[in-house]
């Protein structure tokens, strides 16, 4: 093992919030109480598409114990306005209508009214007394049916934005986007081999174990105080303020501990409703969403329909690619089609390529980001086509990937040229891995590989570090901590200052106390907020240089800071804590601060290997062995990097093999429970081996890339390739559940 230049980075300390989380003391939103707290319940539409003719809330209001009832009529009218949420954008009018329907319900589970009462049972019983008269409308949940000219229209005022031009007639297609490089027709003419296929993937949910939760207090001074489970307290503040039509300064968001998000806890659902209930009730209101409502009304990430075509020369060089991709946006425009288009060819250098993408409204919940949003669907298509090309050209699947892997200087179809990246290094690590070099034997068994790419983003982050009298530090930062980021940020600051991770108390601030910070998403926290923590440390050090010069009676320029954080000047030296203690007793307190907004993507790549066994009688696929490889740039806390890789891989396995929304003939979801949706349990998966590749990142002082998202991308195509290797049956539809695999095996016999 090479020697590391770091003292703290690369070690595996116990996380700062650890003891609270293993003793039950950590306060999640549903654990937070206020005096007089009311419990809320949201009434939701049983129909996928209907006009609201009338709502009679009188019986609910008359129920003993009920403190408030709200409907869409209590929500201010919000004008069309696009708000950036950090990972994607949203039209605030749609966001408001999604929180509470006004005139129309657009999916089963769409909120139509809400009740607060002394307890949740009373609220639920009272909500059942609300009479909503609906006028049923025809509905559509299938993407291709929704794109047809005669499809039922979700929005009469939705006109396709076709490459910047608005269409004349209303449609369910919100956007058509197009990316192109080179001359695709000429490219395919040069191809010796062309593969082309259609692929479909099902709607899947992020599946966080904590349901959405909120405590809202509309204070007498007009301020709305929210305690909530959010991936971004500042975006939550903005969305809530816009929907309530009050200033952002009139909303205080305190992020509680958050029980998973994966992209699904960025948009608000309950916050405005709870705030309006609280205003009407004159008391604080909490709402804990039911699991059924979580499935039916939040989150899911798009189903897709894709037609992808790739051409290669006889030596395996990819020469042309063409992709037609439609993702469902759910009930409102604004799915994740953009990154889908940008990711379909993002792992390979293809001279000529064209991508057309469509964002399509259907009568399902509004789709949201889910870990590398949009990338997993297209990888399912492209990474299987890579294997099909390899087979036709009689080249090893790894070799064709190595030959065409993007590297520094490669241009993506959507324009950007990659800086230094680590896909080749990931593939080399795969080639050298024990897994790849261990023969797989046995009937009905197969091995597959696949790669994956996710941009990673910078955005805005803020941090402040205040020095205690003993030289320990309180680190205040704005990124809600979903998976151990307090540790990864504290470790970077400790590295910067030359102290231990345990010398730092990291704390996630509320929106009144910490500088603006964008969402915990885009694999950005350890990268961008880590950069803020580093810069705050540097700011502190420069202040301390000035003060040390005064103390040591020399010029500021005479004071130097060694790599280990030791200050020296005028023949004197002091470690950070020693100097900080001296300075604390000799003048004003020290606070370092920084806010950053790196614009660069961090470009994360992954490559996975999987061995499967397919039961020929049932089509059930068992994962025998799994190895996830990923370029982390630099792994700050390797255990949590591995954890991201393992967790992402198992989410990808669930997406590949089991998870999907089932709809009945009336377009109602029929499996809205954990039992019926069936995410992977402990018994469904083996250990997930990990290999961390560290190629650094010039845009970060410690070379961090961010690791959260790439590991969900390769599993579906890697498993698809393994199933093919085992059975000679090519799966073109997710999930690859037993009935589908069994059926496909019968037809390919």
């Amino acid at each position: 093992m090479a020697t590391t230049p770091y003292r703290v980075i690369g070690t595996r300390p116990v996380r700062h919030d650890g003891a609270d989380k293993v003793t039950g003391k950590a306060v999640y939103t549903a654990d937070f109480k206020l005096p007089g707290l009311q419990a809320g319940f949201v009434l939701r539409s049983p129909h996928p598409h209907a006009k609201i003719v009338s709502i009679d809330t009188s019986a609910a209001e008359a129920t003993a114990g009920v403190s408030a009832v709200v409907t869409g009529a209590d929500f201010p009218n919000v004008q069309d306005k696009i708000a950036q949420l950090g990972e994607g954008s949203v039209n605030l009018a749609h966001l408001s209508a999604n929180c509470m329907a006004k005139d129309k319900v657009l999916y089963k589970g769409h909120a139509v009214a809400a009740v607060s009462a002394t307890n949740a049972h009373i609220a639920e019983e009272a909500a059942a007394k609300i009479v909503v008269e609906y006028e049923m409308l025809p509905s559509v949940t299938d993407i291709m049916e929704a794109m047809a000219d005669d499809a039922p229209l979700l929005h009469a005022d939705l006109f396709t934005d076709d490459l910047g031009q608005k269409a004349d007639t209303a449609s369910n297609v919100a956007v058509h986007m197009h990316f192109e490089k080179g001359d695709v027709a000429a490219g395919f003419e040069q191809a010796d081999v062309v593969v082309e296929a259609e692929f479909k993937t099902a709607t899947v949910h992020q599946g966080y174990i904590e349901p959405h939760a909120i405590v809202a207090d509309y204070n007498e001074d007009g301020r709305v105080r929210l305690w909530t489970a959010t991936q971004g307290s500042f975006t939550c503040r903005q969305q809530t303020a816009e929907i309530l039509q009050i200033g952002v300064g009139d909303v205080l968001v305190t992020p509680c501990e958050i029980g998973g998000g994966f992209g699904g806890k960025i948009a608000v659902y309950l916050e405005p409703t709870a705030a309006i209930l609280s205003k009407k009730a004159g008391r604080p209101v909490s709402i804990l969403m039911t699991r059924t409502d979580v499935f039916e009304a939040t989150g899911p990430t798009p189903a897709s329909f894709m037609r992808v075509k790739v051409g290669a020369k006889n030596d395996g060089t990819l020469i042309a690619g063409e992709a037609w991709i439609a993702y469902d946006a759910g009930a409102f425009p604004g799915g994740v089609i953009g990154p889908g288009c940008m990711c379909v060819f993002s792992c390979y250098d293809i001279e000529h390529a064209v991508v057309d993408g469509y964002d399509v409204c259907v009568n399902k919940p509004h789709t949201k980001a889910y870990r590398a949003p949009g990338a997993t669907q297209v990888a399912f298509a492209m990474e299987q086509l890579m294997d099909e090309l390899a087979e036709q050209l009689d080249i090893c699947p790894l070799e064709i990937r190595m030959k065409n892997a993007v590297k520094e200087g490669s241009r993506r179809v959507d324009g950007p040229v990659y800086p230094q990246i680590g896909y080749v290094e990931c593939l080399e690590a795969l080639r050298d891995s024990d897994h790849w070099n261990s023969p797989l034997t046995g009937d009905n068994r197969g091995r597959g590989i696949a790669g994956g790419f996710w941009f990673g983003c910078g955005l805005k982050s803020s941090a402040a570090c205040s020095v205690n009298s003993d030289g320990t530090i309180n680190l205040l930062e704005g990124s809600t901590d979903i998976g151990g980021s307090r540790a990864s940020l504290a470790m970077q600051l400790a590295e910067t200052l030359g102290i231990e991770s345990s010398d730092i108390n990291p704390m996630v601030g509320d929106t009144d106390s910490v500088g603006y910070t964008d969402v915990t998403g885009g694999s950005r926290v350890t990268f961008a907020t880590g950069l803020a923590a580093y810069e705050a440390g540097r700011d502190l050090q420069s202040q301390m240089k000035v003060r040390a010069a005064e103390l040591w009676e020399c010029e500021t320029n005479d004071v130097s800071i060694a790599d280990d954080g030791t200050f020296s000047g005028n023949g004197k030296t002091a470690g950070f804590k020693d100097l900080a203690t001296q300075l604390f007793s000799s003048g004003e307190a020290l606070v370092g601060r920084a806010t950053v907004a790196p614009e660069c993507p961090t470009n994360g790549f992954a490559a996975h290997i999987v061995d499967v066994e397919v039961d020929p009688d049932t089509g059930k696929v068992t994962i025998l062995r799994y190895t996830a490889i990923q370029d982390a740039g630099t792994a700050i806390h390797p255990s949590y990097v591995e954890g991201q890789m393992q967790g992402g891989a198992v989410q990808g396995i669930g997406w590949a093999l089991n998870e999907e929304y089932f709809f009945n003939d009336d377009d109602q979801m029929t499996n809205a429970s954990f039992l019926d949706y069936r995410m992977p349990t402990m018994l469904d998966v083996p250990m997930i081996d990990t290999i961390i590749v560290e190629t650094g990142n010039a845009d970060h002082p410690y070379g961090v890339r961010g690791v959260g998202e790439p590991p969900i991308i390769p599993p579906p195509p890697a498993i698809g390739n393994a199933i093919y290797n085992a059975t000679q049956t090519r799966m073109r539809e997710l999930p690859m559940s037993p009935p589908k695999v069994w059926q496909a095996m019968q037809s390919s016999d």
Partner: protein, 170 residues
Amino acid sequence: MTTATKKIHVTTTVNGESVEFLCEPRNSLLEVLRDTLGLTGCKEGCNNGNCGACTVIVNKLPVNSCLVFGVEAEGAEIETVEGIADANELHPIQDCFLEGAALQCGICTPGFLVSAKALLEKKPGASEETIRFDLSGNLCRCTGYDKIVRAIQEADKQMSAATVDSTTND
């Protein structure tokens, strides 16, 4: 349907202490623990027994507290995540979860700790397959389970070693 339901008096033992509470017949043990007794370590993830985040031990058996009525606690011995640590000392299972980074968001962690404690007390030396089978009722969406299984295996080792030590000392 009536909202004014007569409350019932229940006497039970929670984490070794005798406890009395009043609850409506419809209140689940999960509601009682969280809302009446303030033991918010057990979490509501689904409220229908699918996720295991609310797992507590009732009379030595791990149960989903959302599927047990509060009134069923009468005379029972209940252990929750709040009772796992001994005074200020973490239980080996808790230590191993922290050392092994076996949690990310932490919402499922109390349920896993309680289930794992029940498992290891009943089946020390459990195989990986037994651990995975017995804890398949606890869902985790963050970790992929790898580090949870390893943490439980490590805790099992430490607990067995401690048992051997104390036996030797006797």
